[in-house]
Symmetry: D2
Subunit: 382 residues, 4 copies
């Protein structure tokens, strides 16, 4: 495939850094593409962009350079030492393609100005590297819930409001989504933030004929839930309660410890379970910040269910994962799949990518195997 | 549908007793059909035999009457007290339809004689109750592994050997399968024993145009395994080891504690995992008899897997179930589905029933959701 | 020993009902004293009151009679059917000794009046049954945290305030504790409520020469914690985080779901862990109401610790218990031990009973084995 | 304290290498003595040999040098990179003090010759380094069970048999123990092998006035068991079954996968549980070799117990540890404590060191907190 850009909002975060380090290691044939769905044989015929054909840049509001961040991830066990040593120079090259993100607290002027600058960054990146297209992926920090405003309802109203200096009509994630679309780029939201999920932005995507996908990468507890819940349904077993606790350290743990931010994450997790099992399941859910776990995430779920003649049974599981190790290959997968969709002229929400998300746009299907079947069917049809 | 017989080999065992008590309770509208797959709305249009249209009889070598066995299961928490009180008289009625099973140690004469007697029992049961058909289900104790013999290769050779007085050419489960087919009945093997899985018996089923299904009901650890393993595969995660321990009391625990019997069970469990994940997974598996658990079965599985850049992660689960509560509704489901298949003229191994089995005949598919899709597709096509 | 009274505040609750049903079953020699610490051989020489020598009465604000409550506990699996059938008449006899508790919402007059009435109930119970002493045990619902007031500082100030009609200077648990002491009875608090833990009430206990014990029965997660935490300390292993989740149904689950009530429970649990491990351990803790669990309580704890050269390791456990089954025998134990202490003339807080409590009075020792050693030492010295 | 030798049988194994690397890091003040019991404040007054006062040498039959072995342990996460880099030169120095161990397959001549050579190695090490004493610790591979022979009954008979060329009257561990005693050194067995546990060798220890300790370091599942089992006993809860599964990779996993070797390990684990709980507990136990776990060991235990009125409850735990990280500091602790005992003139089995062992010599106490109390009492008395 042609040279393809991967533009990361939050390019110096854990997920982004792991994805970039991994891409460099894949390019150097140092590692196998373990965890990369797009590298499964069934997708071979699609001619997805190769590891050498992906060019990376992005926005971030943090200053810590990619190689420093990668060093921390190496100490936490996410990146192996030998990989880190090998990719360190490449990381510095990518870091040179990272531009300052939009931060509402430091920004002067209108949100329209901000968006224009962000879009220009993307455009210049494409031009500089001779790219056929750039896929923009949001992997920046989860935002607090942003209030719904009437201006979100139509593009005209939104752009009018964005033009007012000092007015904050959009959260940062939506400013980034707007800028991506304005630059003519497909957009993927890997976070639970608002981003593209506003009528005005969906209108813009349609108007520009651009595809988009989201929301919130499905990497741990929810991945397992969306696998197990259909088992109970298929066996006519009656799930009575599904309780969950998540322990996480890392940057994400710190952000989500703040209950306002956790709001959007918990909502996004909860929506899936309700759809999978129906509405009357008791489902308490907690996210705790446990800094000593570092990049590890540990989730415990307890499922209580009823069988024949009312027999009470249970299933409990403990998941011990590295969130960034799980998320990073999916970011690469999504960029590759969406690039192919864009090349093929698809636009609007890509429901067949629901496999990757906790809260998928363009579909109501949450069952993992059905989602994988949809992805496979899309590939077979090409 | 027409009156349909359900003939249980092992009619006084835990699974059989729970199935019969449950059927009586369903007939009395005392309970919901929780755990009954065939009662899901998607199968409504099939016109499966109703709870009132199923007539039960069977063979067993034990003398403890069904109501006494049910009393024990009530004390163990498998059958609720109020259900037991209500169905006790009905259990005695069914017990009157139970005939002595074939036991190699006490039987005099040839295996042909034994099979003839068993087939006659089934035929008389059908005639006495005016049944359109009888579905025979093996839920008798797991047998030790039986050696392969040349006579198993063809029906002619087998029947010649069966005619020799005192010769034991078949294990009891296969004598029962032979008798079922000779009586013109479809056959289901819910156990890991040899039963119908011999070329000579498959030949007989084909010759008589009869459908059959098996083997080994998938109710606990394997159910979860066949749900979770495809998740790792779809996500390109590399499972390195999958270790399992099963603790069980009850009759089955006692039988399987004898390592010779456990052989067939462990083999049947192992086959599935190898198919689901490929051959190079370390997969130690244990079955322990822990009498104090009563009818409960507890399984712990630990899955170690590798993700992006070689990150080491794990998933572990603990399953706490009542095996008989899980198995009993499936016995009713299988009888209903196979009755419909027989009425529709299907014959040979019913691969679309693989959903119910650890070691399915007629298919190599072990993934639960694909198996459910196959079952649903069969139903949709009717 | 002489006839001894056991007066239960919350006499119709789960813990009380299980304790009473069990006492009746023990008296009838139907069951073994499993879970009764006071029945261990090492306490044989103490001459504790026998099962026949304990007379039960109490206060409650609920109307549901003891036999009805016991029926519910039987359905939930806490009381076996055969025990329930046998003790049902005895439960009605005890229920006749239950008097209306003090409820601030319905009470008219001063708290002094209320306390006088409660004390009279206890005194009449003792007289009516010819009891040598009555031990009062609070097993009523956990209260919301009650604000500290200056009047709590001295008995004179407290009694002046209690005399003011309509004034609520004490929470119900403390009114009960006051009444118990005024009636000349030792007092035990099995709950995390304020009850006797006010300087004014401690002054009263001392003045009357009465012993008391508390607070908050140690039955589940905390029991295991106080057993495991010393292991890490003795092995110089550095616990970094200890995360806990409790799932509970039952009356207690409902009460504690209300976050105001959970306050005192969570505080009482947390104090122990901090003392056992030192203050810098991350220790998120949740209590969730999961009604379908009924009387079961499930706790999951995840302990992350550091060993030699900083190696990161973990221990996780899942506890599945019936809270009332665990608490009830301890209530009988406490009544027996405190009766012996009272007979022996002990007064003030009984620190050697810390073994039974999450938040022990009269001692700072939280390690279970040291607590058991203290209890054993007390017994040996007699 | 005076310069003290630590002579390791199995000096190039995982436990030994971790202990040596750790000792060098402690000496360099690079790390805290986490996991070192002897570094707890309560042992400060004992004047145990300091990290600078311990000199290390040993026997091994493997050729892989200590720094190479340490490199592997660094890759497995047992030794941190920065520690490895810092101690690498020191490891080579220690490796120069490692002498060939005794291997029955390659040895020529009598076992007496072999023992003499081993004893001389120890003596020369002491002389060369001017050591006040050498403590010998067996951390070599677990041996298969060795048959009991009449010659084990007395020192005279044993030495006569040892003198016969080609005769194998002792397993290697016992040859090492004999050599240690002959060289005048105290001996510690950290493994479940036979080693010093023969009447003839105990006779020799007494005759030479030497102390010894063992057997089988208590580091994982058994550590937790000996902590939890007393909780059930103290609460009069009736443990019905205690089932365990151990998954381990590493050298030890490979050795124990061989069922003959596992024999001594399983026996040593089982003895403790029986003593702690009484004999009628169902206690299936498995050790599985799962190579992909590397140096990690994962143990799952399921405890089923009965409470008041027969209520059935359970506790299950999963332990995830690095065996070598847990064992290594204990090897240093034991060397220090035994050196102090030797200096103080103690001889025979040191029961007060039972805290460190699965199968302690010189005591029947298996409860961890009582063992810690015994160790503390010994220290206080000095
Ligand atoms: N790791 C997973 O498994 C996973 C799964 C699903 C979703 N996510 C989501 O992915 C996102 C990233 O996770 P992470 O662990 O990498 O978090 P992180 O905190 O390590 O990285 C986030 C990065 O975003 C940057 N950032 C914040 N605001 C920005 C802005 N306005 N513009 C540009 N950059 C900005 C931060 O400076 C930081 O570098 C989070 O929203 C998380 O919820 C992660
Ligand atoms: N319960 C489950 O979840 C489950 C799942 C898969 C398979 N199975 C299989 O189902 C079978 C029944 O399990 P169960 O728990 O009811 O066992 P069980 O021991 O309670 O019952 C088996 C019954 O078979 C009878 N029997 C033995 N030999 C016979 C013979 N030759 N002819 C007729 N009857 C005979 C026995 O007398 C007994 O009544 C077992 O083979 C088991 O492996 C059960
Ligand atoms: N079950 C355990 O393991 C355990 C352990 C520690 C502490 N506790 C404590 O024991 C107490 C009882 O637990 P439970 O499960 O029996 O609860 P429950 O809700 O079943 O019973 C509480 C009873 O107290 C009564 N009550 C409420 N206010 C009262 C008042 N003012 N005067 C008299 N009676 C009153 C209620 O009517 C009810 O009958 C709770 O405070 C609980 O926190 C229980
Ligand atoms: N790691 C733990 O937590 C733990 C706990 C209790 C007991 N142990 C015991 O400690 C011992 C060592 O464990 P490890 O993990 O280090 O094993 P390992 O296999 O890594 O090391 C054993 C070493 O012993 C050497 N050896 C074998 N036979 C010898 C002989 N005859 N003379 C001298 N050296 C010999 C081997 O070459 C090897 O270097 C094992 O017996 C194990 O059961 C370990
Ligand atoms: Na099963
Ligand atoms: Na160990």
């Amino acid at each position: 495939m042609e040279p393809t850009g991967l533009w990361l909002i939050g390019a110096r975060g854990s997920v982004a850094t792991t994805a970039i380090a991994g891409l460099l290691a894949l390019r150097a044939r140092m590692v196998e593409p373990t965890g990369c769905v797009s590298a499964l044989p069934r997708f071979d015929h699609l001619g997805l962009p190769g590891w050498d054909e992906l060019y990376v840049g992005g926005h971030d509001i943090a200053d810590l350079a990619l190689d420093k961040r990668a060093e921390l991830l190496t100490e936490s066990g996410v990146i192996p030492h030998r990989v880190f040593e090998a990719v360190r120079p490449g990381l510095s090259d990518v870091d040179a393609e990272v531009r300052p993100g939009y931060h509402p607290a430091t920004h002067q002027g209108s949100q329209a100005d901000a968006a224009r600058r962000l879009a220009d960054d993307i455009g210049e990146f494409a031009a500089r590297n001779g790219l056929a297209r750039v896929v923009v992926v949001n992997v920046s920090s989860t935002e607090p819930v942003f209030p719904a405003l009437p201006e979100h309802g139509s593009l005209t109203a939104l752009e009018a409001a964005m033009a007012v200096p000092g007015r904050t009509v959009l959260p940062p994630s939506s400013v980034s989504a707007y800028a991506a679309l304005r630059s003519g780029s497909p957009f993927i939201d890997f976070t639970p933030s608002t981003s593209i999920r506003l009528p005005a932005l969906e209108e813009l995507a349609r108007a520009k004929g651009l595809p988009y996908a989201g929301s919130d990468g499905k990497t741990g507890e929810t991945l397992v839930r969306s696998t197990l819940a259909p088992m109970f349904a298929a066996r006519a077993l009656n799930v009575r309660s599904w309780s969950g606790t998540n322990l996480l350290g890392g940057g994400d743990g710190l952000t989500l410890a703040d209950s306002e931010h956790a709001g959007s994450k918990l909502a996004s997790k909860g929506r899936g379970l309700a759809t999978l099992l129906g509405g009357d399941v008791t489902a308490p859910l907690h996210i705790d910040n446990v800094p000593d776990l570092g990049e590890q995430k540990i989730a415990w779920d307890h499922v209580s269910f009823e069988g024949f003649l009312g027999a009470r049974m249970s299933l409990q599981f403990t998941w011990t994962g590295y969130d960034s190790s799980l998320a990073a290959p999916l970011v690469l997968d999504l960029a590759r799949f969406v690039a192919a969709a864009h090349r093929a002229g698809e636009s609007g929400p890509l429901g067949w990518l629901g496999f990757f998300f906790k809260d998928p746009v363009g579909t109501d299907e949450h069952r993992l195997s059905e989602q994988f079947a949809a992805l496979s069917a899309w590939a077979e049809a090409r």
